[in-house]
């Protein structure tokens, strides 16, 4: 019943945003696009986190996919659908491969293994001239099934495209989280022996979560590449990017599939205004926010919204 509530709510929000898209200022639309990208990655972290797993290296899949978009560009691919789907799928494939190793670890080692790989990716990208070294690569404005908008129309179309992608991701994740496989969260976190003796492989459960998570981060990276029109190792594959994703995930909370996107909007808005007052302020605000969240609202913004609306049943 509450599944429908989430889906209905998200559907309404998407429709409203799609309409608002035509009236809002460019900088707000840009914040929206960045939030979609960061929110996708945070959604990927949510999938892991419900099972008690965290990754400090999701910039790996994010950056991998963002560079995928840039490289496909150089191969002459311009269509947004092809760029995003192929690049995200590449990240999913990467997660699948690495998953055979990562699924054997838990807790801190699980968290850091992906980070180790992301540092390798960073090193490779920053050192390889073909990939533009530390300067990165430019990404051309995409076309949309043959339609090639320019200037403001390009941004408006990209926003609509982003909404469509995010909508698909949220629906997919929601269906997954309701399924037998997706509901194996507390079970895996609390008693692996029992899960095995009920007849299912814990490593398999974790592997699937890891792939879904990598795929979502891949979608985030691809949207980011299109939204900012360039990719570089510093902002896309460095470990600080991974840290920001964890930050957004904590800020958002794991209560609902929409939460990561709300968290991402909050994050991007804070960042936008903090930057206007100097870089150091940004660190200060970020640290202070993190502290406040952990101490006062450990279940994130979503739990605050829930309390405001006054409903008790967590939409899980």
């Amino acid at each position: 019943m509450s599944a429908d509530k989430t889906i209905i709510g998200v559907t309404i929000a998407v429709v409203l945003l799609a309409c608002a898209n035509f009236f809002i200022a460019d900088w707000i639309r840009q914040i929206g696009l960045l939030s979609m990208a960061i929110g996708s990655v945070a959604l990927g972290l949510l999938v892991l986190w419900r099972t008690g797993l965290i990754s400090f290296g999701h910039a790996l899949f994010y950056g991998f996919s963002a560079y995928g978009v840039a490289l496909l560009n150089y191969l002459g691919v311009r269509d947004a659908f092809v760029l995003v789907i192929v690049s995200a799928a590449a990240s999913g494939l990467l997660a699948w491969g690495l998953g055979f190793l990562v699924r054997r670890y838990r807790a801190i080692f699980f968290a850091l293994l992906t980070m180790a790989f992301s540092m390798i990716l960073y090193g490779v990208l920053a050192k390889t001239e073909r990939f533009g070294s530390t300067d990165g690569l430019n990404v051309h404005p995409p076309t949309f099934l043959g339609y090639a908008p320019v200037d403001q129309a390009a941004q408006i179309t990209l926003f609509l495209f982003g909404l469509l992608v995010i909508y698909g991701l949220i629906l997919g994740v929601q269906i997954y989280l309701r399924s037998v496989l997706g509901q194996m969260t507390t079970a895996v976190r609390e008693n692996e022996i029992r899960v095995e003796y009920l007849g299912y492989s814990v490593e398999h459960v974790i592997h699937i979560k890891y792939v879904i998570s990598g795929l979502l981060a891949g979608f985030g990276g691809a949207i980011m590449a299109l939204a900012v029109g360039q990719v570089d190792p510093e902002s896309m594959a460095y470990w600080t990017a991974s840290g920001e994703f964890v930050f957004v995930a904590i800020l958002a909370g794991t209560g609902n599939v929409a939460a990561p996107f709300i968290g991402a909007v909050a994050f991007e808005v804070i960042r936008h205004f903090a930057w206007e007052h100097g870089a150091n302020l940004w660190q200060l605000i970020m640290g202070g926010t993190l502290l406040a969240i952990i101490m006062f609202v450990p279940d994130g913004i979503w739990s605050v919204l829930q309390r405001l609306v006054g409903k008790k049943d967590g939409v899980k």
Binding site: L181, M184, T186, L198, G199, S201
Partner: protein
């Protein structure tokens, strides 16, 4: 009677310690078997090897004709050999209902059908029926961590029987339970198993319970089976009297048993 379990030459060494050796047992469908023995006799080790929790150092275990040595627990579970644990293995922060619901979800779906919703009316109904047969329906909403030891044991066993196993192995279903409670507990378990005609082997220290519920006894001592006989015969077997009954706390066989 069809043979469902055939164990031969099973052995387990932990470094220098021989926890089990030369274990051979054949179990037929429909049997109810009690496993007895003093502390450290090797009972749990035996169950652990048969259910894939511990790899044996030597020997074979054939379940329904398949050699299951080396198979992971989930495969053995899928084949229809399920178990409970001396310390209940449940999902502590989840409710009794959700614990059993997850057991049903895993038992009933596989492959891509694992993507079907965990909850649906039919599955909920099956969960409730199962809870009722283990008499834990009234605790449905309680988190497993808040249950008394006895109810938690029932939950553990209820989760192990969701697949309607061909053979169920219970490791000390009554350990840690007060004397007043454990007879009722065992009656509930055995009634539920009889309903499903489940073949069962359970480890038990209380001879009264053994005599009340099983037809056949396997007595362990120092890693070996020293007696495999009908219950009445086993209870007067000199080796059992010397190595098991003599060392048990529950030696006394009450007249009303």
């Amino acid at each position: 009677m069809t043979t469902i379990l055939e164990v031969n030459g099973l052995e387990k060494r932990f470094g220098g310690v021989v926890a089990a050796q030369n274990i051979g047992v054949t179990v037929s469908a429909g049997e109810t078997i009690g496993i007895i023995g003093a502390n450290g006799a090797g009972k749990t080790t035996f169950v652990n090897m048969v259910t894939g929790h511990l790899p044996p150092s030597a020997g074979t275990v054939k379940f329904l004709g398949t050699n299951i040595v080396g198979l992971p627990p989930r495969r053995i579970t899928e084949l229809g050999l399920c178990r409970s644990f001396q310390v209940p293995q449940v999902f502590l922060s989840e409710s009794v209902f959700d614990n059993v619901l997850m057991a049903y979800g895993i038992a009933e779906e596989s492959g891509f059908s694992m993507l079907r919703p965990l909850r649906n009316k039919e599955r909920d109904a099956r969960v409730r029926k199962h809870l009722a047969s283990y008499q834990i329906a009234e605790h449905e909403e309680t988190a497993a961590s808040a249950l008394s030891q006895g109810i938690r044991k029932l939950l553990d066993i209820a989760m192990a029987t969701v697949r309607k196993p061909q053979l169920l192995m219970l490791d000390e279903p009554t350990s840690g339970i007060s004397v007043e409670e454990k007879f009722d507990l065992m009656d509930i378990i055995m009634a539920a198993l009889r309903e499903e005609q489940t073949t069962v082997m359970f480890i038990e220290h209380d001879m009264e319970i053994v005599q009340r519920h099983v037809a056949r006894v396997l007595a362990f001592s120092q890693g070996e089976i020293i007696c495999d006989a009908p219950t009445a015969k086993a209870m007067v077997d000199p080796k059992v009297v010397e190595f098991v009954l003599g060392q048990e706390y529950h030696v006394g066989i009450r007249s009303d048993a």
